[in-house]
Symmetry: C2
């Protein structure tokens, strides 16, 4: 059993929400479940604490990180700041093939939007942003982005998604793709940063969103 595997498995448990935010992480229990001893488990918890997914309290054990509204706003700000940076860098380095891939993903996402399939739309959205971040060709940036988005996803935070906002998000994505295709880094950064400012006040907690019915929500637009 490798470290990375242990870290990955615990991360998955946290991201799945199996251990809810703020809940204690019982070492012994997890040890039995993963069939490892406490030593590698504790090493993994330290790593996850450094990532911000776990909170360590001296002599009081570890808890799944509980994020306040403020924490979430901070994470969203940084997330979108990183996306803006990635977009600008990507414009300088992205290959035609990568643009084509993103364009295809975008078309796919728009199709899901037309079908009002939020889950699939969400997946496409995420895929596009990850593709842009990868196209930036900066592993440091990609690493920070992965860490920040993991924390956001884990919290199951969502932004309220009215039909108007959804339509706007699609339009903004159009503009993003356009700027990418024109390799207009400054313009793209502008779009993404404006997007950031627009969304600044919209982030709020909606708890564990059940994406059923008409209460449409989306976590990263």
């Amino acid at each position: 059993m490798l470290h990375e595997e242990v870290v990955g498995r615990i991360r998955a448990i946290l991201l799945d929400g199996e251990i809810p935010p703020g809940a204690r992480i019982p070492e012994r229990e997890l040890c039995e479940r993963l069939e490892i001893s406490r030593t590698p488990l504790r090493e993994a918890l330290k790593v996850l604490a450094a990532e911000g997914l776990v909170q360590l309290l001296p002599h009081r054990g570890s808890r799944a990180a509980k994020l306040t509204d403020k924490d979430m706003r901070d994470l969203f700000e940084v997330c979108q700041g990183l996306e803006a940076l990635a977009g600008e860098l990507a414009c300088e380095r992205i290959s035609d093939a990568e643009i084509d891939t993103i364009a295809a993903a975008h078309a796919d996402m728009v199709q899901h939007y037309r079908e009002r399939d939020l889950i699939q739309y969400y997946r496409g959205n995420r895929a596009i942003h990850e593709a842009i971040v990868n196209a930036a060709g900066n592993p440091v940036l990609a690493g920070l982005y992965a860490s920040v988005t993991a924390r956001i996803r884990r919290a199951r935070y969502v932004t309220p998604m009215t039909p108007q906002r959804w339509a706007l998000a699609v339009k903004e994505h159009e503009a993003i793709l356009n700027a990418l295709q024109r390799r207009d880094g400054v313009g793209l950064a502008h779009i993404l940063r404006a997007h950031l400012r627009h969304k600044r006040e919209e982030v709020l907690q909606a708890g564990f969103a059940e994406t059923e019915g008409n209460d449409v929500t989306l976590s990263i637009a």
Copy 2:
């Protein structure tokens, strides 16, 4: 002996360059030196690996992270992207008192520039950027910034600092302070992002810079 203390002490050892980049980190030796057993040491190394300061090789121990030129470029890019984001956010939130503090630090830095005291100039520079990051009021951002700047500092990378570049850097700092005082977030972001683009190709390795004589260097302008 708390974990944090162990992590901090090893981090200091790495930042001091006492263990040079790429060198092996002998567990036993460090254990004796810090007077702890291998368990907490290994936990600390895992944390530092997550921070990017240490590189873990399965069954082959840990090494002080060796950064390539590419790694450094990536780190600088992200560092400046974070500074730009911090500047924009700071404009919305910074207090008059904080601006005054930064203005004072700026004046201080300019004075060191006039005296051509690079070391002190460098300190002031760093203080200003850290103040801006703090003024952004975003601990997530501050944490990522600290991690990235730590990695950069540890590598002892520097950018070549000609008299012209130094003068330009001072001018840019004037502009930054100005935008801050006007609380012009968009303008500030523009300045900082332009700064980023200007510096894009300038980053190069100068090894462990001895800041003596006229070979003026500076790591973060």
